[in-house]
Amino acid sequence: MKVDVKKKVRIIHKAMDSIRKSEKTLHTISFYRIADELNMPFGELTEFFLNIEDIFLNEQKRVNQKLEIFIEEGLDAAKTANDYKELLENLTTEFINHLPDHADLVLSAAFYLPKCIEERQRAKKYYRTVFRKIIKRGWPGKIDTVLERQTDLLLLSAYGLYEYCAKSGKRERKAIQKDFVNMINLHLQDRLFF
């Protein structure tokens, strides 16, 4: 696969524009048409991406990888409970900053295209492990069942936030992020959990 970043980005944007304009289901978009719209020989296009699914998988992984690097570095550096709390808060900011304009299309693909579903499932598993660790260290003293239940609630809340942000403008994303973090904090302060 070629590593000409500029060209790769151009292909991604063109593909997303074309899909948005056509209002077709993603799997029916012709890869030949995209090559045509880009004025690029089909052979050259396939040096970057093999098909539509490949473009979406690339986009999905790109954001996930950025967030995962941020998380791993944060976990390595965290020492105190406050560090872990801050990591969770900063993670939501980081997430919002990395979401591309076409996040809604990428999200949509993650519900259907097989490789994207796989990546979504992998990421969800990863975030569950990370959230559990952050809650355990950031809000210590919870028994195991509480930790498990609160992890699930945080995970489902985070995926709700993802769907909302993927479909909203940058300003709305930022506005909701603060409320979201406050609400999660309030919930996690409850040591015994109801």
């Binding site: 289901t25 259907y112 995926y159 909701i176």
Partner: protein, 194 residues
Amino acid sequence: MNIASNNLKDKVVNKAISSLRKNKRIEQVSIPAIAAELDVSIEEISSFYTTTEDIFLEAQKKDWESLHRFWDRHIKKSKTPGDFKNSFEIFFEKFVDSLSKDADLRLELSCYLPKCIKYRDKNRKRVKQKLKKLINKGWPGKDEKVLERQSELVTILFYGFIDHIVHIPKNERTKILRDFRNMLNLHLQDRKFF
């Protein structure tokens, strides 16, 4: 529409879903194949649905319309804050109860097929409006800004909840439903909201 037509419509939806479960690809779900399997004419099915996307869209609408009717009956009967809180809670309960065994696939299609996405977005607004009304009446005294922000957050969490619950076994759904409702209650008790 008579009972026979309704039964046939349900059978078509079930066949389409089972075909999708088996083949994983929506392009392999075809009206002629469904007609052959159900031993009815293509014209009979085409009088209800013109495309496979239509089949899933109508199924999605049917599920939600039935849920809204149930919810509206409760809202209409509500008089006191307690009643409105109850209507708020009963909605989530009914939602979980009425999930079909193929709820995971139905969700995935509602997030992927363009017409289904449109309906999902429209319905989300409708759900948010009702949640806002119930929060306003069930937890009175909030100013408009707080009400708006809390309604948005509850809607975000609910959509994350949907994504979570359709992917877990039926017997685990009740437990997370209880935790989810408790989390929302804790959040809504905050009259001034941070």
